[in-house]
């Protein structure tokens, strides 16, 4: 791509229609991407953003409509074809091979060959190039590490690197920053800017509105599969975008907190786990929301998993309501009134082939049964109530949850744990991929639970979320808690400073 192409029409979609079964998802959508443009595609959960992008990625075929690339009509029937047209996608749901290394994943489908052969694999080239890419993001990962050993955030980065190394004309980024912290996000933006200057067209999907304002030039908004607005970013502000997405204004984004805290519900004393947690102590009181912030791989997820009994600590004490407990399994944790909203929804959160109703009651089946027989009516009623409460957009409770949009899947998981009426709620990236409207609702729901005297821990890579939600914030760095801040003391800069290991709080 030369700079002279800057501004010329790269990809033009017109009159795109797509339906699944009887459900019309996209209604005659038009979309135009210019060379050197970063084009935001906005819309609430289930609006059809990913579906539109999967059509140009060759994952879905369109029912009707026209795709033009650089003025020529093209057809895209499979991913290989899309790649040949120079279209690459960072998928919203990770598509990585867990048993393979970072380098192998980054170069999957475009393996470097030795010499002139086209079948001998050159690992060296992939390793070197991957290392360079990792360095560019300031990530000290070894490119020969297996994906399955990476934290979710790092996996997301690999997914990004995979697409970036494609050398494509059109780059689709479907919620690339959902689990990235601001540091990585900034580096990604630097890369985006450099790609833009090379004349590459980028479609950028995100539910983080600030990012849109920062990096995008142009915006297209979808609502229920129809285009509702389109124009240069300058013509929009956060409120107008939200207005066009959800059809109304959002009130108070983060709820006000005036809670009084009660007795300690959960306490950790010097919990140790090799390679993950070092000497972690913390207290969670009734009515309190504690935020945990850390950069990728700092150990927040491990901490949650240890509390939830999904992993055993090497040493240390866990106390619930001032009694020492040994939590040997998630089942045991659930018995103690603990819930964990896991971060990786495909792997850990959902049974993809089952309906939303079944997924939502999975953790509380016993509650919905008598003598082991399911109480179907009550299951339906409760599931419907939570669909309502969380604003989940779905065609039917019975449809496999894999057919839901990413954000709606996330809400199903949240619903699953709310139904267990836990005392202690642990959440890892609770709003990953959730749209602004629903996100605010979730914040209000959590706040309401805290008001009822529950204890909540939110681990998130989103600084705003941590700052907005928490009564108290713990910062992690390399498996240690390096700082503890009251809400009013905390600021983004301070959190970043501690999280990057640049400062250590003396406690």
């Amino acid at each position: 791509m030369n700079e002279q192409n800057q501004g010329s029409t790269l990809l033009k979609l017109s009159g795109i229609n797509k339906r699944f079964g009887a459900n019309q998802i996209l209604h005659s959508v038009d979309f135009t991407l210019e060379a050197g443009q970063v084009h935001a595609l906005m819309g609430a959960n289930g609006a059809g953003k990913s579906t539109l992008m999967k059509i140009i990625a060759g994952e879905y075929t369109l029912d009707s409509g026209r795709i033009e690339l650089e003025g020529k009509e093209i057809e895209i029937h499979n991913p290989a074809q899309a790649k040949r047209h120079g279209i690459s996608v960072i998928h919203q749901e990770l598509n990585l091979v867990p048993e393979m290394t970072i380098a192998d994943n980054v170069f999957l489908g475009k393996e470097a060959a030795i010499g002139k052969s086209n079948f001998l694999l050159s690992r060296v080239k992939a390793l070197t190039l991957t290392k360079q890419l990792l360095d560019r993001f300031g990530i000290g990962l070894d490119p020969s590490q297996k994906i399955k050993h990476l934290s979710l955030g790092h996996q997301q980065l690999v997914e990004i690197l995979k697409a970036l190394s494609d050398d494509s004309k059109v780059l689709v980024m479907d919620e690339p920053t959902a689990t990235l912290t601001s540091g990585e996000t900034e580096r990604l933006f630097a890369v985006i800017r450099s790609l833009r200057s090379k004349g590459i067209g980028i479609v950028y999907i995100s539910h983080r509105l600030d990012e849109i304002q920062e990096i995008c030039d142009h915006v297209t908004i979808l609502k229920d599969g129809k285009m509702t607005a389109e124009g240069p970013i300058g013509e929009f502000n956060n409120d107008t975008i939200i207005e066009r997405m959800v059809g109304r204004n959002l009130g108070n984004y983060y709820p006000e907190s005036t809670r009084q805290f009660g007795n300690p519900l959960l306490e950790l004393r010097q919990v140790q786990k090799q390679g993950a947690l070092q000497d972690v102590s913390l207290t969670l009181r009734a009515g309190e929301i504690v935020g945990i912030f850390g950069l990728l791989g700092a150990g927040q997820s491990d901490l949650m998993r240890v509390i939830f009994g999904a992993e055993r600590p090497d040493s240390g004490q866990i106390r619930i309501e001032d009694r020492e407990v040994r939590i040997g399994s998630p089942a045991a944790a659930k018995q103690l009134g603990i819930a964990l909203v896991t971060e990786n929804r495909k792997e850990e959160g959902l049974v993809l082939e089952m309906g939303s109703d079944q997924n939502m009651v999975l953790a509380s089946m016993k509650q919905f049964s008598r003598y082991g027989v399911k109480a179907a009516d009550r299951i339906q009623k409760t599931a419907s109530a939570h669909v309502e409460k969380l604003g989940i957009k779905l065609p039917s409770l019975k449809d496999p949850v894999k057919q839901l949009s990413g954000g709606n899947q996330q809400k199903v998981i949240l619903g699953k744990w709310l139904i267990t009426s836990p005392q202690v709620i642990l959440l890892s990236e609770p709003t990953r991929g959730v749209d602004v409207g629903a996100r605010s609702e979730i914040y209000h729901i959590l706040s309401g639970l805290a008001d009822e005297g529950k204890g909540i821990i939110v681990a998130s890579s989103d600084v705003d979320e941590v700052l907005g939600m928490s009564d108290r914030i713990l910062v992690m760095f390399q498996g240690k808690i390096v700082a503890e801040l009251e809400k009013r003391q905390a600021s983004e800069d301070l959190l970043m400073e501690f999280a990057s290991g640049a400062a250590v709080q003396t406690r």
Binding site: E347, M354, K374
Partner: protein, 320 residues
Amino acid sequence: MNQVQMARSQNALNLFQQYGMFLILIVVCTIFTLLTPNFLTTSNMINIFRQASVIGIIAVGQSLVILTAGIDLSVGSIVGFSGAISAGVMLNTGNVYLGIAAGLGAGLVIGLFNGILIAKLKLTPFIVTLASMTLISGLTLIYTKGNPIIVKNTVYKFIGQGYVGPIPFPIILLLVVYGIFFFILRKTIHGQYIYSIGGNEKATMLAGVNVDLHKIIVYATSGLLSGLAAIILSARLSAATPVAGTGYELDAIAAVILGGTSLFGGKGGVVGTLVGVLLLGVLTTGMNLVNISPFYQNVAKGIIVLVAVIIDRLINKEKK
């Protein structure tokens, strides 16, 4: 409204898909009916169901196991072992009920053994149940010294040869077993967990479900049902032979898969399995009835099964 409509047409599609193999079964039956007048008779229908009872009951247990994304290769060897134990205990104690209990108990214990190794030690089901198949077939030979044990007790024989009204008792057992497990899969928590373990074991575990327990129950059920099948078979033959059951595991697995249950777990059910069992049974009986040469029977069977799965796939494009 729109959503209700969609849900409905979705259900219709599901129904059609679920019954794809059923339609194929009907077609195969029609062909045999055209080829020979002896096929579509009450007595032959009863014949087919009675023959299906042994593999049919084993295949229920196998369905549960496969729904959890596991596999149970030991079922055939349990048929040999449980049959021998029940006939042997009956012979030695003179007590038919003790004999039956011993046969069922033997199956249950082997199933528990498999289940505990698989669930608690996280061993691969394939290799565990293959090893226990080898082990158990050896135990059967040792226990029987390689000889059949004759069954004379009339109560015992009733299980395989008796009638309730016009219906052979094994068919009643078959239908009762299918009924029970249809209910368990659809209506109970345990059934729900079977699907969710097969669909995503990790997520199920992280939902606080005691995954190990439910897996153990599933393998134990498979063992128990194989024990029941063993009793039916030995009662039908009036003898427990040490080689009884050899190769049944493959038949049962084939029936389960033909019935639409995925080897990767989480999808399928026992109704489909019954269709699969009947399809395989009808093929054997039909080819015997039209007296196809044994050399050609395998060729025909292989081709028909392939054609069946291909048609099922075409009916069923959505899955793609």
